[in-house]
């Protein structure tokens, strides 16, 4: 790596080398049975340079000539974007606020142990109802990130992640009920009971299919479904959309758009969360960045280049989506502050409404304008304060920026979703719901 940097430095103004080495081992169960074990070793490197003030980028994986990316990056810099930043100078990772993202017991976990976890999960579901189909994946992942730039910055860190995910399917006479759930953490402390208990509860709620009439009604989004409302918001807060003025939130900084209880953070400093790291993918310290606080738009999130162009500072949100991508503004972990209403009280509070737990078509449609429109893949009807059964052929639609103004309450217990997002239940006063006649 040093050698490659040395050779690059001889030719260009400044340069940055980012390298990933990872190992992923999923153990897959299909239709209740152990089906396959995969072992995926990956390594790749990306070189970003600033040559005569312009950015060049090239990446490679495998291959015999690691130096060929230097010439490619230089060739590309000829047409490259004007650099609005320079790479960070020397970085010191100090020990005082040490972030925990590595657990060696995950790395050492044997395939046999992972098989056992999967078998236990399936057994528990089968005990409840032997006709359910279970697909389970137990996955361990560890990676090493190495970073080096021509201004002397040099760091590396290791990270682990462990997850249990499962899909349960109940098939009856052209009615398929599919429930998906997963838990994940950087620490080997997952409780498979948490996974199965939640699933079994939803199965019980969903035993009967009930009818619903199209109208506006109160809706509870479970933590699972909260991204329906927040995907448009984080798209709108992306520094790049703001810079291009395609975000509906462009001129709204410091404006109070929502109720006091709405506070949203991009937080890369949480121990063992999937999106945490001491530094982002271009060497800027990750932090807890308030995006919305007390209903006020506080910050947009930036990487170095976008921040430079906007006349702002990087917020430590320079994220690479794979080795082939240059850093771009991205969310570390998305955290919505919890409220004070228990989920059970929300249900009791509703005369007629629905609970949305899984949707189809997330991110479909004109997200940047705030719009969402989704099929409710898994949802339940509430009638007179009680869960009455499962709903089918139902769609929800609205504009997230507007709908979030109608929050009655947020749940008192936030839940991690996918190891990277943490949401409480969200109780909306009214939302447009369309059902098949």
């Amino acid at each position: 790596m040093e050698q490659l940097m040395k050779k690059t430095k001889e030719k260009v103004d400044s340069a940055e080398l980012f390298r990933v080495k990872s190992k992923t081992v999923p153990v897959n169960f299909e239709v209740d049975r152990l089906k396959s074990v995969d072992i995926s070793d990956y390594e790749g490197q990306a070189l970003r340079i600033i040559n005569k003030g312009k950015i060049g980028f090239s990446s490679s994986s495998g291959g015999r000539d690691p130096y060929s990316i230097i010439e490619k990056a230089i060739a590309i810099s000829e047409f490259g974007v004007k650099a609005s930043f320079d790479f960070p100078a020397e970085i010191k990772l100090n020990d005082e606020n040490k972030l925990n993202i590595y657990d060696s017991t995950i790395k050492d976990k044997s395939v046999t142990e992972m098989i056992k976890i999967g078998e236990e999960i399936i057994e528990r579901i089968k005990d409840f109802n032997k006709n359910l189909r279970c697909d389970v994946t137990i996955l361990k992942h560890n990676n090493k990130i190495e970073y080096l730039n021509s201004r002397g910055a040099d760091f590396s860190y290791n990270k682990t992640f462990f997850s249990y995910s499962m899909m349960i399917q109940k098939t009856e006479e052209k009615d398929f009920l599919m429930i998906e759930s997963s838990i994940g953490s950087g620490r080997d402390k997952l409780d498979s009971k948490e996974l199965t208990d939640g699933l079994l509860e939803k199965l019980r709620w969903g035993e009967n299919i009930v009818n619903l009439k199209s109208k506006k009604m109160p809706v509870i989004f479970t933590p699972n479904a909260a991204m329906v409302l927040f995907l448009p918001i984080i798209s709108g807060l992306n520094g790049n959309s703001v810079l291009k003025k395609i975000s509906s939130l462009t001129d709204k900084k410091e404006e109070k758009l929502w109720g006091d209880f709405l506070s949203l953070y991009s937080d890369g400093t949480i121990d063992f969360a999937l999106g945490s790291a001491p530094l982002d993918d271009e060497g800027i310290k990750m932090r807890k960045l308030p995006l919305i606080e007390d209903g006020i738009v506080k910050n947009f999130y930036y990487d170095l280049q976008t921040a430079g162009m906007a006349g702002e500072k990087s917020t430590g949100n320079g994220i690479r989506h794979g080795i082939q991508s240059v850093p771009a503004p991205g969310i570390s972990n998305l955290i919505l502050k919890e409220g004070n209403m228990p989920f059970s009280d929300m249900v009791k509070d509703i005369k007629e409404g629905i609970i949305v737990d899984q949707v189809l078509g997330l991110g479909q449609g004109n997200v940047i304008s705030g719009a969402f429109s989704n099929n409710v893949q898994l949802g339940f009807k509430i009638k007179n304060g009680k869960i009455a059964g499962r709903i089918k052929d139902v769609m929800i639609a609205g504009n997230a920026i507007e709908e979030l103004k109608n929050i009655i309450a947020l749940g008192d217990r936030a839940k991690w979703v996918g190891g990277k997002y943490k949401f409480p239940h969200i109780y909306l006063k009214s939302l447009s719901v369309s059902a098949k006649k």
Partner: protein
């Protein structure tokens, strides 16, 4: 290469089946957003995998260091042996040795980066200069040339070249807080010529984004809907096609029962086909990623379910013939059952006849995206119009269609006579393998009682 792979596959008698797949690829991508060139990259990747089957248990090992293949084969066999407890089942296919090369109308690997960039810049300018209401753009160019080396323990050796090239043009229009987008895209395996003059697509994207500013949101409810060829194609791919992928059925008796061949499955004039052997379409290849020859497969004939898509394992387990539909996104993924080029065959009804007689309905065109979970599907239209008294009326926006596959297949009331295959820039996603190049198509379709989301 042939010798290296063959050598690595000697002495594998402990396994029932082993395959090695190596891939070498080079990609270029260019992106304009607004006036700025946002990204211009080139990357190269070499990697491979070994997949082994022992007593019904699979292992799959991927890597970037392609040396010591023999050792990797051994590791794969050992891992598979750890979990295999039943019987390995793979349908027999004849071993082949073949090199499949591709001839391009113009080889994009020889086109200078400068030319690619200037071409995209030109499309970008067409959109930007279309109207002062155009706020931004998103112009993406991507090319990829892969060479895939495949060998298995049954003596097959195949080298296949897979070119892919795509251009996607998105226009973003804005008026106050009202922001609208429209996209036109093109994907091809045939070479650079296909994207050399798509100025018309750039204009179309721009004009549609601007006209969407004036469109009213559609009123939610149940409508008779006419789908254009793109949405018809998306529908058959998303809603029906995924259900005919046998990997979800073969070990699930209840699902098998529902998808029993011979079941009446919809409108009697409905014919659905998946064909990976059409030359040079996005989903085409002479051999799939298990070395099985691709072919034309009828899925629905005259409204009756007659076939489905298979890998070697699912074909054997369901006692059906192989179809050549095991595909992998790249060397980091194992082959799974996927569609190739999927379409609804032509009917006889001209478009005018299709819409006449609809008192109040929706004409839905283009698409933003689609998704499905077996019986339920949803997809959003890129453009929509009301149909009033048998005529196309005012434009509407935010048209999201949703429904139950079985119901909708039965609710198709007319199949048009204007089949068109769509080759887009995106692709299909399944089990984390996306975007896999596919094409799809359909004539115009009339469907009654479709739920449309809206305010």
């Amino acid at each position: 290469m042939k010798e290296i792979l063959k050598n690595a596959l000697t002495n594998v008698s402990k396994a029932d089946y082993v395959e090695i797949r190596l891939e070498k690829k080079a990609t270029t991508s260019i992106k304009f957003q607004g006036k700025k060139l946002e990204k211009i990259n080139s990357s190269q990747e070499i990697g491979g995998n070994v997949r082994a089957l022992v007593k019904g248990g699979w292992s799959f090992i991927t890597f970037n260091r392609c040396d010591e293949l023999k050792k990797k084969v051994e590791q794969a066999i050992n891992v598979a042996a750890l979990i295999g407890k039943s019987k390995s089942e793979l349908v027999e296919v004849p071993p082949v040795t073949e090199v499949v090369k591709r001839k391009l109308d113009r080889d994009f690997r020889q086109v200078k980066l400068k030319e690619k960039k200037e071409l995209m810049e030109n499309y970008n300018n067409i959109v930007l200069n279309y109207s002062p209401k155009i706020q931004s753009t998103n112009i993406v160019y991507a090319d990829k040339f892969s060479t895939i080396y495949f060998a298995n323990s049954e003596g097959t050796y195949i080298r296949q070249e897979k070119p892919f090239l795509a251009a996607s043009i998105t226009a973003v229009a804005r008026e106050g807080d009202n922001i609208q987008m429209a996209n036109e895209a093109l994907g091809t395996t045939k070479g650079f010529k296909g994207i050399e003059d798509i100025s018309l697509k750039a204009e179309k994207a721009a004009s549609r984004a601007v006209s969407l500013l004036k469109a009213k949101s559609v009123e939610g409810g149940e409508y008779t809907v006419v789908l254009d060829q793109t949405l018809g194609g998306v529908f058959i791919h998303e809603a029906f096609g995924h259900l005919s992928e046998a990997d979800f059925l073969y070990e699930d008796n209840r699902m098998r029962n529902i998808m029993k061949l011979g079941t009446k499955f919809g409108f009697k004039k409905l014919n659905v086909i998946d064909d990976g052997s059409i030359p040079n379409f996005l989903g085409s290849a002479k051999y799939d990623d298990e070395g099985v020859r691709t072919k034309k497969n009828y899925l629905i004939r005259n409204g009756v379910l007659v076939g489905r898509l298979h890998s070697r394992e699912t074909a054997k387990k369901m006692n059906e013939t192989p179809t050549g539909n095991a595909r992998a996104l790249n060397y980091r993924f194992k082959p799974i059952v996927r569609m190739t080029n999927t379409y609804i065959d032509n009917g006889k009804i001209p478009f005018n006849e299709l819409i006449s007689g609809i008192k109040k309905g929706i004409y839905a065109k283009k698409f933003y995206g689609g998704n499905t979970t077996f019986e339920m599907f949803t997809f959003s239209a890129g453009e929509g119009f009301m149909i009033r008294d048998g005529k196309i009326a005012e434009p509407v926006k935010d048209v999201v269609l949703s429904g139950n596959l079985f119901t909708v297949l039965n609710n198709i009331t007319a199949v048009g006579d204007d089949l068109k295959m769509i080759e887009g820039a995106g692709g299909c996603g399944k089990n984390g393998q996306a975007p896999l190049p596919v094409s799809f198509g359909s004539p115009h379709l009339r469907i009654k009682k479709v739920v449309v989301g809206g305010k």
